[in-house]
Subunit: 356 residues, 2 copies
DNA sequence: ATGTTTTACACAATCGATTGTGCGACACTG
DNA sequence: CAGTGTCGCACAATCGATTGTGTAAAACAT
């Protein structure tokens, strides 16, 4: 290994000053060549070619911090999500990243663990790194974040949970929950005259969070229009944790003596918790019960009993969010993206054939 | 809104020069106060307090690009993964991020979509941003990446798929697959004398990829030690896509006229593809078949038929990777982390009671 | 040969923070 | 009161790239 390589890897990275010295030109010329502006700066093609070769030989990569400092643009774009380890948010993140790369931007995705304090710290950090805009998904305190972004003059869009001081892209939670509720409560009508008749329940989430509130509103409306009278105990907002959900479903089943005829689970984590109770129930228990879940997991559509699921269109949500940024929208308008109802694909030959 | 605020948000962000002017001190003093080194620099407490107040009032956040440029440290740490939208990698990403935050570092997670070209571009980008170290998970071309990192003098650790020129943390794929294969092939012994007797199959992945190769090795060894003779057609490495897997399982079932007695699925995506075929099969088809899957999805453990799953310990893998970085290990040693066998939790009362 | 353009660069200021060094003012010592 | 320290800060160089401007040399025109 030549001494120069030794030195290079032991010392600092190669800079335009090194390349200038080696190629016998000036830093500004190297800069122009490396960033592609060399034609406008009337650099001879042979000079450019030579510099490019030297750069390649020395494994030069530009220092983007220096560039960012000078140009007051970092080339990074930020997104915050509650957790990576969740199908919906992971999917949002993936779309965010794909769209960023198409635009030659470097995506930075950070998770807040739904902690309001951490959330603020992270936004401050991203501001400090001079991200060019920010997508905020599932924020616990949207307006505080808007204020931070405002002070830093940072364009931002809320995704999933809307904010009051910036544009938002959300799922049409009302419509999604409406469709889902119809699916799981429709069978009740058919069974009106049968001996089995219990109510339809909504389980999970925090009633105070915007998305859940909308879903509950839709649920309530559909139940009421079915002619069934709606009672407050049909909403069990026990949070999102599997454990809480497991306890809640157990209490419910014990109280009503069976599974409810309809059950809308407000998230996959809630569903997961519920499953750990269902595992103790005999197969017959599900005969007269219809389950729905807001959010989607492929395997959950293959369970022993049919499950209707709602899949949010994360890619379109992100596409819309980019549109808002690129159209420089700052008004707090809300764009709603349609969610999709996914039918069960349970292995019950002849019963569910909605599968393509 | 006061004019000063107007100007601030219309123009550039507040800098230490602004704060210096406003507070009647110098930029270096402000700098010392803001980064906490003010005691060593013998700044009076009252001065520090005053500057802090001014900074807070003006919503000052340090320009980390400038700091990074000066200190030749960005405070960012990088990780690349194939995709976000995958339980295992999402989980790795989440752990990576949690550990980074504990150390006050800013995590940047990028996905490569398993594209070797994109992979290299992304590593170059992260090097340009001066990340302080890099975790590389599921690389398609580890050694090319090592070379890039070497040129930039960037510490890095391979995760999941090992590299030859840097330390690695992987799952003990051999042991995981061994345990899993035992589970799904054990019932065959019991059935030795019954009329039903087909072979155990391994489905999915690329035989050339390191993790899959190890799993296949373990699978082969266990099958052979069972006394059954192993045949080449028992390995069907059809890649990872659900579609390919669906086609492959259909062909297999058609050929042998039933489900195989044992089936090891090499990833969740493969499993997903297989499910779309299974959905057409009658319940009885699963009576004499045992399914296993390398990787874990909670809902997949609740399917109509029992599924044995392997869950990789992503958090420990990341913890080990941080250890390697912090101990400044650069030798290509490989640390293997134990994966966990997750028993089925199928709703078959009395048959599977391994559930806690 | 002289004046005018054009070519092909080099120079130097700049972005915002960090950090080694310098120095006036005050306290303290003898 | 001169000498020595200490305190509390300000100054200025620096990190690596960008970019407005200056300017020799070559090309061209007269």
């Amino acid at each position: 290994m030549p001494a120069s390589t030794q030195l290079r890897s032991k010392n600092r990275k190669t800079t335009i000053y090194d390349l200038a010295r080696i190629s016998g030109t000036s830093p500004s010329t190297v800069s122009a060549v490396m960033n592609g502006s060399w034609r406008e700066r009337r650099i001879r093609e042979s000079t450019a070619l030579n510099i490019k070769q030297v750069a390649a030989k020395h494994g030069y990569t530009p220092n983007l911090q220096a560039r960012g400092l000078r140009k007051a643009r970092s080339g990074m774009v930020g997104m915050i999500i509650p957790v990576h380890d969740n199908r919906f948010f992971a999917s949002l993140g993936q779309s965010f990243e794909n769209h960023a790369r198409e635009r030659d931007l470097c995506p930075v995705i950070a998770s807040t663990l739904r902690d309001p304090v951490e959330e603020i710290r992270i936004v401050k950090t991203l501001i400090s790194y001079a991200v060019e805009f920010l997508f905020i998904a599932g924020a616990t305190n949207p307006d505080a974040l808007s204020e931070l972004c405002g002070a830093a003059n940072l364009p931002h869009v809320f995704v999933d949970l809307p904010g009051k001081h910036a544009p938002s892209v959300t799922t049409n939670n009302y419509l999604g929950a409406e469709l889902l509720t119809r699916k799981i409560s429709a069978p009740n009508k058919a069974r009106k005259n049968s001996s089995i008749k219990t109510k339809t329940y909504f389980l999970g989430g925090n009633a105070s969070d915007h998305a859940t509130a909308q879903r509950i509103a839709a649920f309530t409306a559909v139940i009421s229009e079915n002619g069934d009278k709606f009672e407050a105990d049909q909403i069990i907002s026990c949070g999102y944790s599997p454990d809480k959900a497991a306890t809640a479903i157990k209490i419910l089943c014990d109280r009503i003596g069976s599974l409810p005829s309809g059950l809308l689970l407000n998230s996959l984590t809630v569903f997961e918790g519920v499953m750990s109770h269902f595992v103790h129930l005999p197969a017959e228990a599900f005969e007269h019960s219809t389950i729905g879940c807001y959010d989607y997991d492929p395997f959950a559509t293959f369970l022993k009993f049919p499950v209707h699921m709602v899949r949010q269109n994360s890619d379109e949500m992100i596409a819309r969010a980019y549109e808002l940024i690129e159209r420089k929208v700052t008004d707090p308008l809300v764009i709603e993206v349609q969610a999709e109802l996914i039918p069960p694909r349970t292995i019950h030959k002849g019963r569910y054939r909605e599968l393509g």
